[in-house]
Symmetry: C2
Subunit: 343 residues, 2 copies
């Protein structure tokens, strides 16, 4: 590591986070996998443990530190419930159980805690996810900014199915997104910038992506799936490109994005490809099944689902975008601070 | 809830934590179990999910906020690795995998992070626990005191064995402890009180209890097992008494405790029964097998293992101690602040 201290950028999910994980965390642990499972070696959205004959347990963990803790479209509880469900769902698993750990600052209002737990429960109840237990800790006043929630969701993969990995994309596969991008990131960015007026009409998209996964998996074989959270579409597609050893090419005019989000990012000079979604999934499916998959998604509650690009064998590891003006531009992983405490 | 805000005492694992969990957390969640599993309903050390034919997946979560983060006998990493392993082990499971989530304050020294990860790895490597993945977040300077680590450990229970629950104790069962008590609590208490001199010779007992569980399970049928962490022996035994609907009677003269710990608690006027151990296990086994179990423990690396008491059918829900002077005293669950950020 060339740094002596942790920077904010180490936590934004982009290039610096990856450097830290690759240089310090991965080499730091000796056993990175259970036999025939998915672990630190693959560094996918969740871990996988084979159990019994041909079944898998899928397990995810994330700590949520979002600031502000209440925002249009949800709160830290909605996010903590949905986010860890989504990490399990994108592996092709059905989420069944959760463990949660809540750490709050002394003096935290009980009413806020109730609201947050109610939001978590709303998600878990709708998704039929059982809350098996958890932890509750308190830090003295001034030692923690309000609250951190960590969730670990456990899912199962049906007999004879394998976990869906980021490395499964094949040349000529189409890239699909289940809805409009960057809404969670834009909402939090507007709130953090203190420009309340700008956040009008903005709302986080924070929600489980289980339904979209189910529709897609019932229509075709999903080659890869990922929720574009920290670091947005740019980070997620770069991980796809690197792990599948392919180039991903996307088309700006095909990317669904709301007018309110466009207005905000133009005013602030931020690239919406770097902003988090918390309720969308990117799918890689075969060229033949792509139209059919989008059609099914649109018919089943995802009217803005769209094919936004494709995988290409040449220039592996790169992500490029064909812009509205027809030019081609490389999309790098995001770096720098972007939006701290986005999730 | 009769309070409007969270107090420090809500996080110390004693009476207030339990009130909060029983009044706010448990009623807050609708689905508290997977079918035939162990969840919020039982509120045991971990959750249990049945998989395949007659196997169980056991899953634990805890967030570690200990202050100071480095202490004689270990650091927050040793604790985060051992603690969540222990919650799985006391259910009778073999820990196999872990997910970890690290949140640090901006400016946290990389060298400290390396030391902490090295300590976690030391535990995981020794215990053959695979690190499947995790999360890494950064909070801005001043928004978090140094670091919080959350670990989720997953274990498996062999075919035809059931999870060991707190409710499994039978009348006349003997209560065994695997070693001397209160060392982690006493060490952190001395450091937090700023009386360095007092901490001389004190050392946290923080370590996995898997070996002790293995020895006990190879010798007899363990009826209940628990690591006496937050709230110490007092809290753990009260949970045993309540969930097994029995009285637990212990004998002060039988409880193994180091001289250094005795000296500290006498000087500070703290009851050592309220202080955390982080590397001991309390076992309930049948009267017939109790001597044999202690003998095996002593022979296999636990020279201070001892029978400290027994379960009695009358006065269910109570814990009493026969003191050195021969008197009988009720041991309540701890309340108030005791030692904040003990783990």
């Amino acid at each position: 590591m060339k740094y002596e201290k942790i920077f904010l950028a180490h936590g934004t999910g982009g290039r610096e986070t990856e450097e830290l994980i690759k240089n310090l965390i991965i080499p730091g642990f000796t056993i990175k996998n259970v036999p025939n499972g998915v672990g630190l070696t693959q560094l996918d959205d969740s871990g996988a443990i084979p159990v019994g004959d041909s079944e898998y347990i899928i397990t995810s963990i994330d700590s949520y530190t979002v600031d502000p803790i209440f925002f249009p479209g949800g709160n830290i509880g909605t996010l903590a419930a949905s986010g860890s469900i989504n990490d399990v769902a994108v592996m092709g698993a059905k989420p069944i159980a959760v463990m949660d750990s809540i750490v709050v600052e002394e003096g935290f209002p009980i009413q806020d805690l109730k609201r947050i737990i109610a939001s978590m429960n709303e998600v878990f109840e709708y998704e039929h996810v059982a809350v098996l237990g958890g932890d509750f800790k308190v830090m003295p006043k001034g030692k923690l900014d309000k609250i951190i929630i960590t969730t670990n969701v456990i899912g199962t993969i049906n007999k004879n199915r394998k976990p869906i990995l980021d490395s499964g994309i094949k040349p000529s596969d189409k890239i699909i997104i289940s809805g409009t991008i960057a809404e969670h990131g834009a909402t939090i960015l507007a709130l953090q910038s203190g420009i309340e007026a700008l956040s009008e009409g903005l709302m986080s998209d924070c929600q489980p992506i289980t339904k979209a996964m189910e529709v897609a998996m019932n229509t075709t074989t999903v080659h890869a799936a990922k929720d574009p959270t920290r670091g947005g579409l740019a980070q997620a597609l770069n991980e796809f490109a690197e792990k599948s050893n392919l180039m991903i090419k996307i088309y700006e005019e095909e990317i669904p994005i709301r007018e309110e989000v466009k207005a905000l990012v133009e005013m602030l000079g931020v690239d919406p490809l770097f902003l988090a979604s918390e309720g969308r999934v990117i799918l890689a499916v075969s060229e033949e099944d792509a139209e059919k998959t989008v059609k099914q998604l649109r018919k089943n509650g995802f009217p803005e689902a769209a094919i936004i690009g494709e995988a290409v064998a040449e220039k592996p590891g790169f992500v490029v975008i064909e812009t509205l003006s027809g030019g081609l531009r490389v999309i790098n992983r995001p770096f720098g601070e972007i939006v701290p405490r986005i999730c």
